[in-house]
Symmetry: C2
């Protein structure tokens, strides 16, 4: 889906893909920064544990958010597409000042939430200023084009990344998570090579890309954000090679940014943390 | 060590790092191309199995080279630094029209051969036109600056790659092997970030970079060659971060080349296989 239109007088909310494995403790820089954007003590955070098949995933985040001092942290369980039309659940989401999607499997998010009232409500909430974060599978689900699955490895290959429509908060990036930990450069390059209009964001564990309303990304966390910019791509053999075969790519730009580093999705310029 | 000077009237031999896992069969494109450069049926190939701790490594290559039709394929066993001063062994190397280093551990190559008569003989043979190939550890040992060891992973980190002096056939590249298979992007980026004067070559298994006398690389094999060009590096935090911590790198250029693709180390331009 395309991002919702930001109406006059509104500022889009932050979009926050997290690479998974963020510290689920009171002192977590990532979760603290998210809570601050949601209104701190006055925040009403809704946790969506849909991606996870574990029953206690939502509770763990509710505890951490409470410890951080969030006024209200509710779990909204969406296990079926019918759940995504439930008036009570929709009301809770409508009242949220921040929405957080847990990890698990992004295809659960896409198959259950995609095309429902929850999906359009999340897009319009973000367009009205509500920050939306997702970790791991929750991060992958954020953009218009989502990496559904694909194996690790540094060389891009035809068919290595399988794309599917995501939530659609932004169409400027394609996101891959657990990036360094699972060696996903080839998968992200493959995803970009199909149609190199988007910027690739490879988010390491315990690391987040805070994409501001101005489309400037700030990196928060202990790992790295790998930014892959195919603007100057001179050649891609993606259309010519058989499935599973390596793809030739010439002219990729690559940045590795750390905590405090920035990347402007409009100008495509990177800058290190102010030192 | 620095590369030996190429005297007037001579043309430097090919330098051929192979990513390991090359097909050890008669039909291997990589080994056939190497043999052709060494003189085909008239070739006298010397195999140096020093990197390997297995007793039959040299024999396996001798068999393949014989099957391919090499006139003479000798194993020169160099297990000690004394071996590297042995007159018989030096004579065999001096008569070689091609030298092949097997895989194993590049630190065995560096500790046994480094600084001996074999080492200077190999450099001057290459300067006189003799092609020198190395697979896996043998590939890592080729350049002036060798990656001695370091773990996998996509994010560069301080101390991730430990460099040591290599054989020194070229100082224009730093080589990493089993590149995609062992997810070594971070390690190669780390190695380059210390002093970004060299080009990084990440060589996949069953893939070789044939570096010609004109310093134009041609890719041969079934995998990819990842070329990392730090020419436009705008920022590296390598000097500022603690050991084991991720490094910020802004402005890396990256190409993924396949069989037939070329990269000119002088102009730093990549081109796909002529299609």
């Amino acid at each position: 889906m395309c991002p919702a239109k930001v109406d006059d007088g509104f500022i889009r909310g932050y979009i926050i893909p997290i690479g998974g494995g963020e510290k689920k403790v009171k002192s977590s820089d990532i979760l603290n920064r998210f809570v601050e954007l949601c209104g701190g003590k006055k925040a009403r955070v809704v946790i969506i544990p849909t991606a996870s098949r574990l029953s206690d995933t939502g509770d763990r985040y509710r505890e951490v958010f409470s410890e951080i001092g969030v006024g209200q942290a509710d779990i909204v369980t969406l296990d079926t597409r019918q759940d995504c039309e439930d008036a009570d659940k929709l009301r809770k989401l409508e009242n949220a000042t921040g929405i957080f999607m847990t990890g698990g499997d992004q295809l659960r998010l896409a198959t259950i939430i995609g095309g429902t009232s929850v999906s359009s409500l999340m897009r319009s909430a973000n367009a009205k200023g509500v920050p939306i974060a997702g970790t791991s599978a929750g991060a992958a689900f954020i953009p218009e084009h989502m990496i559904a699955f694909g194996r690790g490895g540094a060389t891009p290959k035809s068919g290595l990344a399988t794309l599917a429509p995501g939530l659609g908060l932004t169409n400027k990036v394609i996101i891959d998570q657990h990036f360094r930990e699972r060696g996903r450069l080839g998968r992200l390059l493959s995803a970009l090579a199909y149609n190199p209009f988007a910027i690739g964001l490879g988010v390491d564990e315990d690391t987040a890309a805070f994409i501001g309303p101005d489309d400037v990304i700030e990196v928060v966390g202990s790992g790295g954000l790998t930014v892959i910019d195919p603007t100057d791509l001179q050649h891609s053999s993606m259309a010519d090679v058989a499935k599973g075969k390596p793809v030739c790519l010439i002219g990729i730009k690559l940045h590795i940014l750390l905590d405090g580093g920035r990347y402007d999705l409009s100008t495509r310029k990177a800058s290190p943390a102010p030192g």
